[in-house]
């Protein structure tokens, strides 16, 4: 089954060309991409992720607010009882912060040098490794890819 990804753009920065390129690249890799537009709050992102029941939330953030946004997303997911949606990030994120984000449970951080292929491969690997398909599908696990 196609991997479903939420491409989320939190905060006030008004720049979503990169997020749209990512959305399209993931689409062309056969994924189902929910695109929600600019200016998302962590609450909006988590609500959309829960309702859409995505495999992965991809957060694009250029404004430097990542150490505020990611902890809130992770906390909200936990509050909602969601333990099987993977979170990844990309954009402008300082190297020093990457280990801190990983400690929060963010599965991967893609820096500005990452190609769309890096992104696709990374997401596919994360879904394979941590995704819910195997947990959810139980007896029918063979049917999901």
């Amino acid at each position: 089954m196609p991997t479903k990804v939420l491409v989320a753009k939190p905060g006030l920065d008004g720049h979503d060309r990169g997020a749209k390129i990512v959305a399209r690249a993931l689409r062309d890799a056969g994924m189902e991409v929910v695109y929600t537009g600019l200016h998302q709050t962590p609450e909006m992102i988590v609500t959309a992720a829960v309702q859409e029941d995505v495999d992965v939330i991809g957060v694009s953030i250029l404004s430097g607010a990542h150490m505020t946004v990611f902890p809130r997303i992770m906390r909200l997911l936990e509050e909602r009882g969601v333990d099987d949606i993977c979170v990844v990030g990309g954009g402008v994120i300082q190297e020093d912060d990457v280990p801190k984000l990983k400690a929060l449970g963010v599965r991967a951080v893609f820096d500005a040098d990452a190609t769309t292929k890096d992104l696709i491969d990374g997401i596919e690997r994360i879904v394979m490794e941590f995704g819910r398909a195997s947990k959810r599908s139980g007896a029918a696990a063979g049917g999901s890819s």
Binding site: M1, P2, K4, A23, R24, L26, R27, D28, A29, G30, M31, E32, V33, V34, Y35, T36, G37, Q40, E43, M44, T47, A48, V50, Q51, E52, D53, R80, G81, V82, R136, S137, G138, A140, A141, G143, S144
Partner: protein, 303 residues
């Protein structure tokens, strides 16, 4: 509405969509519907870019103001080449994000060609089971023949925009035949009255009692009239049941025939016919005839 219901409904839809649970299994995870009233299912269809999502956003607002819970199932197209999809209908409905009385789910159309996704019917039924009072189904942007929404909605709203064509477009078959309500959106643009008049003529000639309304969904103009028309359709126990069943029977038989045909083309006898075609032992029409008789003998012989 309890956020846990949102999560369980979302998971139920995924399970059905990806084929790892039956409808009954998915429904069993949800609390039984409390009020005895049936959900009211509104279908919204029309060409790409006509403003369907923006209109749906307005309808959510009005139904919520009237105290009703609303689920939206919005379908966007899957690529026939990569199976990927970009699902962008939520963008227009963001402001309802914090409202637990609103549930919005996007679906990729996957292999379905009728304007909905293969599991849209089940998603709607599941949302009804979860207790949502109004369910709005937004189709992919359609052309003239993607009519699947008629099989799922109580009321079908066809949204169009000014100047998509002359009055001949309004007498063509297909989309115009399934409308219970026409909306000419972007009615602040030139040609809106002309488009509305053409539709009204068509409606009068077909002797159906269908309203033709004009809206500007982006600023809310005309939405109150849409709500009145929907309320009257809801009260009148619309006649959509027969139409829906007819449509579904035709579709199911067609789908079954397609499955049979694909199976035949794939089995030994089918492959041998294709092999002989490739080798030049059969002409195209001979090969076609042989496969048809093999796939659907009762139908072909009757013809």
């Amino acid at each position: 509405m309890d956020l846990r219901v949102h999560r369980d409904l979302a998971r139920g839809i995924t399970a059905i969509e990806n084929g790892y649970a039956s409808f009954a299994d998915a429904a069993a995870t949800l609390p039984a519907r409390e009020n005895g009233r049936q959900a009211f299912v509104v279908g919204v269809t029309g060409p790409p870019g006509a403003g369907k999502s923006t209109l749906v956003d307005r309808l959510i607002e009005k139904f919520r103001a009237a105290g009703e819970t609303v689920a939206v199932v919005a379908v966007d197209p899957s690529s026939p080449f990569t199976h990927g999809a970009v699902l962008g209908d939520r963008v227009r409905m963001q402001r309802h994000s914090g409202d637990t009385g609103v549930f919005i789910r996007s679906m990729a159309s996957r292999e379905s060609g009728g304007g909905l996704a293969p599991s849209t019917h089940d998603a709607v039924a599941l949302a009804a089971r979860a207790g949502f009072e109004v369910i709005i189904v937004e189709t992919v942007g359609v052309g003239q023949v993607e009519l699947e929404v008629v099989a799922v909605a109580d009321v079908v709203v066809v949204v169009t925009v000014p100047a998509l064509g002359d009055s001949v477009q309004t007498i063509k078959a297909g989309l115009t035949e399934i409308a219970d309500l026409f909306i000419v959106n972007m009615a602040d643009r030139p040609g809106a009255n002309r488009t509305a008049v053409d539709l009204k003529h068509m409606v009068r000639e077909s002797r159906r009692d269908i309203a033709v309304l004009q809206t500007v969904a982006s600023d809310g103009t005309g939405i109150d009239d849409v709500m009145l028309a929907l309320a009257s359709a809801r009260a009148s126990e619309s006649t959509n049941a027969e139409r829906a069943v007819r449509f579904e029977v035709v579709r199911n038989i067609r789908d079954a025939a397609v499955r049979r045909a694909l199976a035949v083309l794939d089995d030994a006898q089918g492959r041998s016919v294709l092999e002989r075609l490739r080798a030049g032992e059969l002409t195209r029409s001979e090969a076609r005839e042989e496969l048809l008789v093999y796939a659907l003998p009762e139908v072909i012989n009757a013809d």
